[in-house]
Symmetry: C2
Subunit: 492 residues, 2 copies
């Protein structure tokens, strides 16, 4: 067991790092705060990306690509957005290196190759995109513009964690332009629903849909909608955001259109994004002390077949039958691997694929084949069963669906058990300290109260849930009147 995993109870944070690194998802790099996404992790990201991409296209969006760099003068045009990101910008100042005269073989920045205007490595692309849309939009006939981009972005965070918070990360950012406020708001809500659909039905992770308080809003947005998920340590994680940007960027970049009556008005905007952070959420929400647990719909590998050779003569029999199974599984669209690597023993392989979270393991010996059966093991419950090889494809297909549902149900139950209604400040503190999770409480609606609560408890308002109903109450902190409960939690 060279790949021992720290248990959750021992050190939750180390457990997470162990899963990411030993599970083969990512690795540290030589660049501060940047990570390497390894093949297994990247295949997971590809599966997530492909599913989302199809959903974006099915809702009428197309992909495009905008420059990595934002000239400083454009970056600062939308003041709130600039202020929000200025403190974490990587800045390109020079465009050439030259030999260092003081150090043989070394290079130095060429002081003569200083850029006239510095370039910000995009932390988000509203500025460069709205500066471009300006040239594309004259009339209502040019609207709506429904564009998404898959890209890398850089935010120079001081404390980084693999996937959850890295200086560079991969994401998609949708940027749409509309003729009316109503249409832009409908788009914002539609994409929130797309995200919720994806995270719940593909990642098997239940979310709360809501809207952010002003303090937590995206810099430059009129309203930020979000989906919030709960991790096993009771902390919340923002899994995606969809922003109604009003006319802020249109005004900053002077993007106007003439409507059907030939009247000029500023264009309405939205932006929305999810990132490789979702992989961090996936790891923390479902995994256990043996390793990762991958929901079948996005698992890089859904089934692994491990041969149990006993004696030379069993090999051709097992390999032959395994080849048949692999062919049948692939034809049924199941992602399968036959691991006949003879450097490792079956026990080692069992542990390895548990660590990697492969949903279904099939063990197959010569005796099994004689009996026309194989042994199936579910990663999520550990349950084993002996199954007939006849009809195994249908059986495994159904099992994958069952596992997907079971993982979701488990996460949902945990989440529902961890939404606690409280009505007093004592209860509020008590729940955050011991039970953890979401706390549903009344709040007076002010940023000051929100800030004080954060200082005292580290809990922030995760969102004002979209499905919450009006209810008379008193702010748990200030005692002032409130009409609605909001969800607090400590968060990633």
């Amino acid at each position: 067991m060279s790949k021992a995993i720290t248990s959750r109870s021992e050190d939750y944070s180390q457990w997470y790092n162990d899963l990411v690194i030993k599970g083969g998802l990512a690795d540290y790099s030589a660049v501060r705060g940047c990570m390497v996404i390894k093949p297994y992790g990247f295949t997971l990201w590809e599966n997530m990306r492909d599913a989302l991409d199809k959903m974006f296209k099915d809702t009428g969006h197309t992909n495009a690509y905008f420059p990595l760099f934002v000239p400083k003068s454009l970056f600062e045009a939308e003041e709130k957005n600039a202020e929000g990101f200025a403190k974490e910008c990587a800045v390109v100042t020079h465009y050439r290196l030259k030999s260092d005269p003081d150090k043989k073989g070394a290079l130095m920045v060429d002081p003569e190759a200083k850029l006239e205007e510095e370039l910000v490595v995009r932390p988000t692309s509203e500025a460069i995109i709205w500066n471009t849309y300006k040239n594309w939009i004259q009339s209502y006939r040019d609207l709506p513009i429904l564009i998404n981009q898959w890209a890398n972005v850089v935010r120079w965070e001081m404390r980084t964690r693999l996937f959850l918070r890295t200086a560079e990360f991969l994401w998609q950012e949708g940027h749409t332009a509309h003729a009316t406020k109503e249409e832009a708001i409908a788009e914002t809500r539609q994409m929130l629903d797309v995200y919720a659909d994806f995270v719940e039905n593909w990642m098997a992770l239940p979310v709360v849909k809501g809207v952010k308080s002003e303090n937590e809003r995206f810099a430059g947005a009129e309203d930020t909608y979000c989906i919030e998920a709960l991790m096993q340590d009771g902390k919340a994680l923002q899994a995606g955001t969809s922003h109604f940007l009003g006319q802020n960027f249109a005004k900053a970049f002077d993007v106007k259109f003439s409507d059907k009556e030939n009247k000029l008005d500023y264009v309405w905007a939205t932006s929305w994004g999810v990132s490789t952070r979702l992989i961090g959420a996936l790891v923390m929400a479902h995994s256990d002390d043996k390793g990762l647990i991958m929901p079948p719909r996005i698992a890089p590998l859904q089934v692994v077949i491990v041969p149990i050779y006993k004696g030379e003569e069993s090999k051709p029999v097992i390999d032959g039958k395994a080849a048949e199974l692999v062919k049948a599984f692939k034809a049924a669209g199941i992602r399968v691997k036959f691991d006949d690597n003879d450097n490792n023993r079956p026990g080692w392989k069992f542990a390895e694929y548990e660590l990697k979270g492969v949903p279904v393991r099939i063990a197959m010996g010569a005796r099994d084949i004689e009996n026309g059966t194989v042994e199936l093991a579910r990663r999520d419950t550990g349950e084993k069963s002996v199954v007939s090889i006849d009809g195994i494809t249908e059986h495994v297909n159904q099992l994958l669906l069952d596992i997907q549902q079971a993982i979701y149900d488990k996460a949902l139950q945990f989440r529902n058990e961890h939404i606690t209604k409280v009505d007093t400040w004592e209860e509020f503190q008590e729940v955050l300290k011991n039970k953890t999770g979401f706390v549903s409480a009344h709040w007076d609606g002010t940023g000051e109260t929100e800030q004080k609560i954060k200082e005292l408890t580290k809990a922030t308002i995760r969102c004002i849930p979209l499905d919450s109903t009006e209810e008379e109450g008193k702010c748990i902190f200030s005692g002032k009147p409130s009409k609605q409960r909001v969800l607090f939690a400590q968060a990633y």
Copy 2:
């Protein structure tokens, strides 16, 4: 005709820019040398990427992702590679902006946020990747590593052209690690074949496979293999390269492995890449004075249906039949659009889809439907035909195949007519000046001669073709003995 295109004979270079911009592939951006890839151009890139990605996966490769930034000390580790790229590096020196005290609302680079070590924005990723592979490779059991990455890279070119040469571009870069020299060379050659297969069979563009002279080799490679294509103006374009890197990067980053006999040796490497430059090649190779010509296999749109409404009552009839056709085409895997936008007249639409290079146009009026026919027009030849609606899906599918073949055949004929064997310096100059294209000539094998020929004629050695046979001859420039002809051309 607001979208008039400059003709090739009038101004080839402007013709190219017109096609790219007015054809909706790309646009200039506010960042010097960087472009915006518009939805139509990006869909083309997605089609190319997906086809290549499948080929990479079918040959055993997986994708991963490595950091955008390379610390200067890593960048300079492989000396030749560093020297080759140092002059065109965008360099990040700071990680924060702050308010400019002298200018309200403006930001400035925060001098207190200077990085201890500068970060180079990757112009290529050998350095960061081999620094990572060092941690992944101990034994022959860890080999081969067969990884590809789809990424953006930055090379600060002084003269840029849309797609052909931009400061930032999108590409894929494969980076493989092997236990033996033979295996690494076989990989280099395999990927060259993959590229040739893709460019010829998907992009309909014939290529010459060859190896570069030392002068034209990738910085840090032992051998650079390439595919070279010919554009309509008789200039060559390097469409893809595959490098055998020997042990250069393994030595620079100290990457050793123990073989089966427990002996330590440096790892053998390859890298290979194609980029969005291929889109430039596609545009220049096939298009005409009416606009783009897209090979059907990668065309964003393969068929467009344009309704010819005459009177209000024809609309429901045409729209109903068009919806049937769209459904049938989509079911057959054909990328189709029904353009019923009533802001534009049919003539405008015809010109627009010719400009965009959609392979097949279907025009459909009420009379046609009565007759059970539609009018088909081929973009490549302009040929029109009246075709029965019965069996149209099969007909169009076959037509798309025919068009793909016809575009390839045309380019092949042009290319073959533009490979000229010459044996004297006069002929050599004469062909380059008037006929253009590839010139097949003897060369004495020295870098000096190559350099002088370049200075005098702007022609470079594009490659030493892999299929060329040994043949006694004399260098066209120096008269020294030569055993093989090489291909010269002026190039993009």
